[in-house]
């Protein structure tokens, strides 16, 4: 349903997201994880066509039969809010402070052709559906009269109003109280159609998603089914991330990742993680590709993908027997993968 190929995002000549590809089937739930600064929000915003001024996206992205990148705003705005929706990180500022909540929910429906009266009625139904108490009364409230959790539910109601096929959630619970987070997550997983869920919280991803993409330095460094990636991380970054969140299999506690995420445009060439990676070698100065090794039956004698023989394949040359990586199967971009 959603297919992204070679998505690259630039600002002022700096690449913030580099060559990201993945796809999403109808009803599928995919997590996009990484530290802040890894480019995950920009990836989502570029799909919605909501990048900040001066930031541009190239590549290919299709939702059903419609292109999302490189098309004029007029084409895109017909899709936004109807076939794909987004819930943002900061509920406190995402609603117009001068407009009643119900009107803000109704707006997204009138914009896509529903008559005003009907939209107002349905707005109340939607507020009820996201489990807001006394929806009819709450529809007349202004955003500042609602708590953060309630505002985020309103945002979710807006996102669901036109029955979109794809819901993008960008850290929807990060700004909320811990007690409210769980309720919000349960609600999202209950109502979401296909879901692209962005977070830095691995535990949240584990409870919400079937598949994950791990981003670092604007690249997808590892992807695959949640269970495989989380139980057997191959990329050293994923490994560190999991170690830091103590979700590793017992007995294999690993040190927390050294250093901090560099500023945009200041990632090293080659493997973007190599300046923080304890396993980095000169090989890592060439860029590793996201590849899907044939884990099922590796041919004996074949070089492991992360272990090229000296003077062996030029960087970027695919390792044997792998299809175009789409994130469906376990894939990673590392010269020295963990076993």
């Amino acid at each position: 349903m959603l297919k992204v190929e070679g998505l690259t995002v630039r600002a002022d000549g700096v690449e913030l997201v580099h060559d990201v590809s993945f796809s999403l089937a109808p009803g599928e739930r995919v997590g996009l994880i990484g530290e802040s600064g890894s480019g995950k929000s920009l990836t989502a915003l570029s799909l919605m066509g909501l990048l900040p001024e001066g930031v541009t996206a190239t590549g290919r992205a299709r939702l059903g039969g419609d292109d999302l990148l490189g098309v004029p705003e007029s084409r895109l705005k017909g899709l936004r809010g109807s076939r794909m929706s987004m819930v943002f990180q900061e509920p406190m500022t995402a609603l117009n402070p001068l407009m009643r909540v119900g009107a803000q929910v109704a707006e997204v429906m009138t914009l896509h052709g529903r008559p005003r009266g009907e939209a107002r009625e349905r707005a109340v139904e939607l507020l009820d559906r996201v489990r807001l108490p006394e929806p009819a009364r709450l529809a007349r409230a202004y955003p500042h009269q609602l708590s953060g959790g309630q505002r985020q539910r309103v945002m979710l109601a807006i996102a669901l109003a036109n029955g979109p096929g794809l819901l993008i959630c960008d850290e929807p619970t990060t700004a909320l109280d811990v007690t409210v987070q769980k309720q919000m997550l349960d609600l999202i997983s209950e109502v979401a159609p296909a879901l692209l869920f962005i977070t830095h919280d691995l535990a949240v991803v584990a409870s919400m998603c079937e598949r994950v993409l791990v981003m670092y330095g604007g690249r997808v460094v590892e992807s695959g089914p949640l269970r495989e990636v989380f139980t057997r991380p191959r990329h050293r970054y994923t490994q560190g991330l999991l170690a830091a969140s103590r979700l590793t299999p017992r007995g294999t506690r690993l040190p927390v990742i050294e250093g901090s995420v560099p500023a945009a445009g200041h990632f090293p060439g080659g493997c973007v993680f190599r300046n923080r990676c304890p396993h980095a070698t000169p090989t890592c100065e060439t860029e590793p590709q996201l590849t899907e090794p044939q884990l099922t039956d590796p041919a004996p004698g074949d070089p492991a993908p992360g272990d090229p023989a000296p003077g062996d394949p030029a960087p970027g040359e695919p390792t044997p027997g792998e299809p175009t990586p789409t994130g469906d199967r376990h894939a990673f971009a590392c010269w020295h993968p963990a076993e």
Binding site: S85, L95, L138
Partner: protein, 323 residues
């Protein structure tokens, strides 16, 4: 999770009562200040009126006539009580009642200020919004630069420049003077056009920068992104969700500007020889007619306070967060 209390929409009433009380109180305090300054500090009006050679008896008699022999508190209450009924007292110099003079002149000043504000708004809102939306391209930057220069020109200088262009060179408009509306709207308009422009162009330049800044701020707000995520284009989002939000800070500035315009009008009236309050004030000073000056100053200060009041109330109506 407790349900919020949206509250009735008409909750502004207690606020309004409170704000009116503040307005009245601050007007009264301002009156005390003006009175203390103008009526207590300078010399004795009776002595001034009679000159240095007057007999003490004559001075005492005139003092009794003026009422300045009474204690200051009584004189203040008398004056302030009169003000509340529109009676500004009688001039010590010309023996003419002051209230009617002020009433005569007030109309001209109000027309001048209103027209200036209209020019400023008509200029600033479209230009400021345009400059904000196009802040990355040269035309937007050019608007900012021109407005920066406009701010540096005082209204009376703008007036002189306009006179030079339209009266001296083009000879299209009169260089000054005033024709009442009753004597013909065409002439009335011709005489007011340049005063309006000289007030409005300068304040418009100032306002343009504020409008630009307010719109720029709003353009960065998350709710505008939400509106676009709903399927609005960026222009549509700005119209529907941005402008009202941007108008809140602009209203504050409008209040400040109205006060500035009122004072600027005093100077512009002098440039264009318009018979407004400023002209009355200055002629009062020139004739050492202190009670007249006191009255006009009080009217102008009260007007500034009233403008502040209107701004506060407008603010309250615009922003539900304050209710």
């Amino acid at each position: 999770m407790t349900p919020p209390n949206p509250g009735p929409a008409g909750a502004a009433a207690p606020y309004l009562v409170k704000r009116v009380a503040v307005l009245l109180a601050s007007t009264a305090v301002a009156a005390v200040a003006v009175f203390a300054f103008m009526a207590l500090l300078p010399g004795d009006p009776a002595e001034i009126a009679l000159g240095v050679n007057a007999t003490p008896e004559a001075v005492a008699e005139l003092r009794r006539q003026f009422g300045t022999d009474r204690p200051p508190a009584v004189r203040f209450l008398d004056w302030f009580g009169g003000l509340l009924q529109g009676d500004f007292g009688t001039s010590y110099v010309t023996s003419a009642p002051i209230g009617p003079q002020i009433a005569d002149r007030l109309g001209v000043t109000v027309v001048l200020v209103a027209g200036g504000m209209a020019v400023a708004l008509a200029l600033a809102v479209p230009l400021g919004t345009f400059a904000a939306v196009h802040h990355r391209n040269p035309l937007g930057a050019a608007i900012s630069a021109v407005s920066q220069i406009g701010i540096a020109v005082p209204a009376f200088l703008a007036g002189i420049l306009l006179v030079f262009v339209f009266a001296v060179r083009a000879q299209a408009l009169p260089s000054g003077g005033y024709v009442p509306l009753a004597d013909g709207p065409g002439e009335w308009l011709r005489h007011l056009l340049m005063p309006w422009l000289s007030l409005g162009l300068v304040q418009g330049a100032v306002l343009t920068r504020y409008v630009r800044s307010a719109v720029l701020d709003v353009m960065r707000e998350d709710y505008l992104r939400t509106a676009r995520a709903k399927g609005r284009g960026s222009t549509g989002a700005l119209w529907r969700h941005g402008l009202r939000n941007a108008s809140i800070p602009v209203v504050t500035v409008l209040g400040l500007q109205l006060a500035t315009l009122l004072i600027g009008a005093v100077v512009v009236e002098r440039v264009f020889v318009l018979p407004g309050l400023g002209d009355l004030l200055l002629s009062g000073v020139a004739g050492r007619d202190l009670l007249l000056v006191q009255g006009v100053v009080m009217v102008l200060v009260a007007a500034v306070l009233l403008i502040n009041f209107v701004v506060d109330v407008a603010y309250h109506l615009l922003d539900p967060r304050l209710r």
